[in-house]
């Protein structure tokens, strides 16, 4: 199984990140293979972040923000993220990535249990999903 | 529609009106009943002291009924209904348990391949046959008869299992009675137990509970009480005289099965609906219902 990191979680400051910290305060436990990066808002979503993380070697990426319709601190960043994330999901599927490689979740500041549960689930799934093997150009061509 | 009908022990052995009236009535609605020949007790009687054994017995019923093509199992007794519903819930939640049970079943040469829908008689009339159909049968007739509904404890409880109506405030049986043209109202004793479950271990207490239910209900001015469960029917109808005399009173509350009431609306005759088996004073209310 190894100690290598598996999952990268992008969290928004006011909801998902607050939930992650609240999970810490409540001492809810989850596996250490998940790393959290704090962004101001889930609306900062760019597919680039997801592709880059997969390319670098993460197994799954979690993008989390505030619940629609009213919770987003910046009004509707979550809607902006949702639209782009759905497009990304369709594209990833076409490229042949497994569905669990990218996950979009809404986690409010009052839901640390949800954060811990998702962290557990996503790491467990990532461990079961085979590692992506990136081929060099000539390898891919000759395959 | 084809439904496997599970009568349960008590109906087969004593409360034959339950089966007789139900079979007659559902055939009117083009439901083909299948009565399996091989069956066994659901194990409700020892559910609390030997839970896994009763679970196995119920699983066995499911396995036998699997061999028929049907759209569900209609249970005639509330106890059997709870056992089947609960067993299915436990097997769905616990893969390991399901595997162990199936292994034992296979040793007997049977297996559970699919999980059927378990249907309670109230659910059958309200959700499957439908209120509109019942209203059409009643054909705008309005009776000046007030009916007390008795669901019975195990139709809706424990509330942690999914159920066909709100366990704390059910209304489907009232809807059925009103669709047929009768009056209903809420009463404090509506969700009280009939006491049947204590008959074997604490018979006096069981009779006391039945007395509280009958006397309590009667003081609100109801003309009739309806129920679907053979055990409830036993306490409230068959034993009403004994129960009331224990407290120095006479029987006072007519009790019928839901299927009997519906059957009367369909114009079926009293013999077919086994109304001669009712021991409560139904003659006080029957003429009014029969006046068409």
């Amino acid at each position: 199984m190894g100690l290598e990191p598996r999952v990268l979680a992008f969290t928004c400051t006011y909801c998902a990140y607050a939930a992650a910290e609240a999970a810490g305060v409540s001492k809810l436990q989850y596996p250490p293979h998940i790393y959290v990066i704090r962004l101001p808002c889930s609306g900062m979503f760019k597919s680039y972040y997801v592709f880059k993380a997969l390319r670098e070697g993460f197994d799954s990426i979690l993008w989390s923000g505030c619940h629609p319709p009213y919770d987003c601190h910046f009004i509707n960043g979550n809607y902006k993220a949702r639209v782009k994330a759905e497009l990304l999901k369709a594209y990833l599927k076409q490229l042949g990535f497994e569905d669990q490689r990218f996950r979009l979740e809404w986690i409010s500041a009052g839901e640390p249990d949800k954060f811990a549960r998702i962290a557990k689930e996503i790491v467990e799934e990532a461990i079961k999903t085979p590692k992506i093997i990136f081929l060099e150009h000539h390898e891919a061509v000759n395959k | 529609m084809r439904l496997a009908v599970f009568t349960g022990c008590f109906t087969l052995v004593k409360q034959i009106a339950v089966e007789a009236s139900m079979l007659k009535v559902i055939q009117y609605f083009n439901i083909e009943p299948i009565t399996p020949q091989k069956t066994n007790c659901c194990g409700f009687a020892f559910r609390s002291i030997a839970p896994n054994t009763s679970l196995y017995l119920t699983a066995r019923i499911l396995a036998y009924l699997n061999t028929f093509e049907s759209e569900g199992i209609l249970t005639l007794c509330n106890g059997c209904y709870l056992m089947l519903k609960e067993t299915i819930y436990r097997l769905k939640e616990n893969q390991r348990l399901l595997e162990i049970i199936r292994k034992h079943l296979k040793d007997e040469g049977i297996d559970i391949k699919s999980i059927p829908r378990i249907i309670h008689p109230i659910e059958l009339f309200h959700d499957i046959i439908g209120i509109e159909t019942l209203k059409n049968i009643a054909n705008k007739k309005q009776y000046n008869i007030s009916i007390a509904t008795h669901y019975g404890c195990h139709a809706l409880r424990p509330s942690t299992l999914p159920s066909f109506d709100n366990p704390l405030n059910p209304h489907k049986m009232e809807n059925i009675a009103e669709a047929l043209g009768f009056k209903t109202k809420d009463y404090p004793e509506r969700l009280d137990c009939c006491g049947a479950v204590l008959l074997a271990s604490k018979p006096e207490l069981a009779m006391k509970l039945a007395y509280s239910k009958i006397a309590g209900t009667a003081r609100w001015g109801f003309q009739l009480l309806i129920t679907t469960c053979p055990y409830c029917f036993e306490m409230l109808d068959s034993r009403q005289e004994a129960v009331m005399q224990m407290f120095g009173e006479e029987p006072k509350l007519p009790v019928m099965l839901l299927a009997q009431l519906i059957g009367l609306q369909l114009g079926l005759n009293e013999k077919d609906l086994a109304l001669n088996f009712n021991l409560s004073p139904i003659d006080r209310v029957l003429p009014q219902i029969l006046k068409r």
Binding site: C41, Y48, F58 | -
Partner: protein
């Protein structure tokens, strides 16, 4: 860029936080590994970095090592970011050349049983922060002015207290209340525990001061419909609903009410009586100007009557009055929208709503109140006579997984007060309180408990009542198991009082949405910034909450919070300026094509497309920019980034974690 190549010199400080971090993570091991990296100017640990000693040590180490940026691995940025930023400033560094790594909430506290992995993870998190900080730029805070006025939403005791405190400090306060009068729930109470003060007698004077205070602008029968802006500069729209009575002409004689022929259910008396279509909610209402309720007014419904108009000596009735929208500007907002009773008809076993002689605690307050439906005589609604035996059932809907999991905080004391009311009005009555425990924790509460339970005829059964059943004669029967006598008891009473659980008032939801505040799922209470250290602030700067809207509480705690919120507001308004955190969007004009997508997604209209030389480029107004990053997500050219959170910095973090 490899961590080894960097020319910047980074100081790294790791906090043990006692054993919170040090007990799980092997910090000395991490320090060892960090020391091997040449660009690390100093790597040091400390037991409590946030202590005076910790800060001093940090400042000294920064100075002596000539570090030009700092990584601190400790707790949440919410707790100590300003403290560490200040430390950098004192050490001569720009406060934004700081990266905080949370190895407590995000590591040691959540991986307590996996020390090796937690240590490895902490090391990776720290290295990632070191990589990120290489590209941090010094940033400057911006000073923005603060409008010297405040908005208080909600005119109950919390809103009244907060408004008075802020007004006394010399600032303009707009107090908005959606009911026709201020006073809130406290105006409905007869007396308050444990002193048994007459509630309206202590509340009334405060209401009157509010009405006449030169600095308070009172908007009753009004609601807040939109809020825009930022701390120090909020633009608020208030909707004044039409009373159909001219406030400038009405003299408060109330002849209109006496002659009105139409009646409807009285909400202030909680459904126990009727009021006219034109009404003042209670005699001590502020302002004492009637309101016409169009749903029950014969003129609005059928075009007839108009008796009030004909009889008003001041010609103050105006059926053509329209709603009005008022726009105001304030620097701070206090939310004090209070509570209401939970809908206990859902608690089926207590049969509320099924029989007439079952009332809630607040309904009992109205029954015994001298300006209530029975003018203070306790009459059981369905029996039409005085009740001789009364049962009070506590915790209805509260402490119940099916309904509200939390304790309502005031029910136990309210039940004792209610017993006192009943015995005071009818000394021969018998009162049975059904409560599995009695919570009397406040000042004077235990003494009041003793006083009430020693009254002859008050019986406290230490058990939750199992069910309430009605009898044909209108009485009610309750069963419970009394542990004191180890026996089931059955009691028949004339009246049942249910102490209902409490939830945030229904108006709270729309305010929560307008302000983007968080709320708890159960009860709808608004979430404070920190439950221990910031009970009246919220995650939104400049917005404060106080009173029952943030959680069930009694009057002393409510007033304390209201004054606390007011003091925060006064501090903000008297300082006169705010300094923003400068994490705003920055445009790289060499990459910007002026496409305008960023401008179109910015919710704060902070980006404009401007012609510079022959090109169009995006320009960001830092005062308006909130730093949310929506523009960053939308830019196709990677021309706009958030300061100190650039794409290459995130890339560096990602790569470093996986190295």
């Amino acid at each position: 860029m490899n961590i080894l190549d960097s020319s910047a010199k980074t100081a790294v400080f790791i906090c043990h936080c006692g054993t919170n971090i040090g007990g799980v993570i092997d910090i000395s091991k991490i320090i060892e590994k960090l020391k091997n990296i040449p660009s690390i100017a100093v790597a040091q640990d400390h037991r409590f970095l946030c202590s005076t000693d910790g800060i001093e040590t940090m400042i000294n180490s920064i100075k002596t090592s000539n570090a030009d940026r700092v990584v601190v691995a400790a707790c949440s940025f919410r707790t100590h970011e300003p403290l560490f930023q200040e430390a950098l400033h004192r050490a001569g560094l720009n406060p934004y050349l700081l990266e905080l790594v949370n190895i407590r909430e995000l590591c040691s506290w959540v991986h307590e049983n996996e020390r090796d992995r937690a240590t490895e993870k902490a090391l990776k998190m720290i290295r990632a922060a070191i990589m990120k900080i290489q590209d941090n730029q010094p940033l400057k805070r911006i000073r923005l002015p603060v409008t010297p006025a405040a908005l208080v939403i909600g005119g109950g005791i919390a809103g009244i207290r907060a408004a008075l405190d802020i007004a006394e400090a010399g600032f303009t306060v707009y107090l908005v209340e959606k009911e026709p009068s201020i006073g809130g729930n406290m105006a409905k109470l007869d007396k308050t525990f444990p002193t048994l003060d007459c509630s309206i007698c202590i509340l009334g004077p405060l209401m009157n001061i509010v009405a006449h205070h030169p600095n308070i602008k009172l908007y009753t029968y009004s609601e807040v419909i939109s809020i825009n802006g930022r701390v120090g500069d909020f633009s608020v729209k208030i909707l004044k609903k039409p009373r159909y009575v001219r406030e400038d002409l009405c003299r408060g004689c109330l002849i209109c009410i006496a002659k009105c022929p139409s009646k409807t259910v009285d909400e202030f008396n909680m459904g126990l009586s009727h009021r006219k279509a034109i009404y003042v909610p209670f005699p001590q209402a502020v302002p004492r100007i009637p309101v016409i309720d169009t749903a029950s007014c014969l003129y609005f419904q059928k075009g007839i009557c108009r008796a009030c108009e004909k009889l008003c000596p001041a010609n103050a009735i105006d059926f053509n009055q329209k709603e009005e929208v008022v726009e105001i500007k304030v620097g701070a907002i206090v939310v004090a929208t209070g509570f209401e009773e939970y809908n206990i008809s859902q608690v089926y076993e207590y049969s509320y709503g099924r029989y007439p002689n079952i009332v809630t605690g607040l309904q009992l307050e109205r029954l015994v109140s001298s300006y209530g439906p029975t003018e203070g005589r306790l009459i059981a609604p369905g029996l039409n006579r005085e009740p001789r035996r009364i049962a009070i059932i506590n915790c209805v809907g509260s402490r119940d997984e099916r309904h509200l999991p939390y304790c309502c905080r005031v029910g136990c004391m309210a039940s004792l007060k209610h017993s006192w009311y009943i015995k005071h009005l009818m000394p021969e009555a018998e009162v049975f309180i059904f409560a599995d425990e009695v919570r009397a924790s406040g000042k004077g509460f235990e003494e009041f408990y003793r006083r009430v339970r020693l009254i002859p005829g008050v019986y406290i059964v230490k058990s939750k009542a199992s069910e309430v059943r009605g009898n044909p004669d209108g009485t009610l029967t309750i069963k419970a198991f009394d542990p004191a006598i180890s026996s089931e008891i059955t009691i028949t009473v004339d009246l049942v009082v249910l102490e209902a659980g409490i939830v945030a008032s229904r108006g709270t939801e729309s305010i929560k949405n307008l302000l983007k505040l968080g709320a708890l799922n159960s009860g709808g209470f608004l979430i404070e910034l920190h439950p221990k250290l910031n009970p009246v602030e919220t995650a939104v700067d400049g917005v404060y909450i106080c009173g029952a809207v943030s959680g069930p509480k009694d009057i002393p705690d409510t007033v304390a919070q209201a004054s606390a919120a007011a003091s925060k507001v006064i501090s903000l308004l008297s300082r006169g300026y705010i300094e923003t955190q400068p994490y705003s969007a920055i445009v790289d004009e060499s990459r910007c094509s002026g496409c305008g997508v960023c401008s179109s997604v910015c919710e704060y209209s902070a980006i404009k497309i401007v012609k510079k030389k022959e090109r169009s480029v995006a320009v960001v107004d830092e005062a308006l920019c909130k730093g949310c990053g929506a523009c960053v997500g939308s830019c196709p050219s990677r021309a706009i980034e958030i300061a100190n959170l650039k794409l290459n910095q995130i890339d560096a973090m990602v790569a470093e974690i996986l190295r």
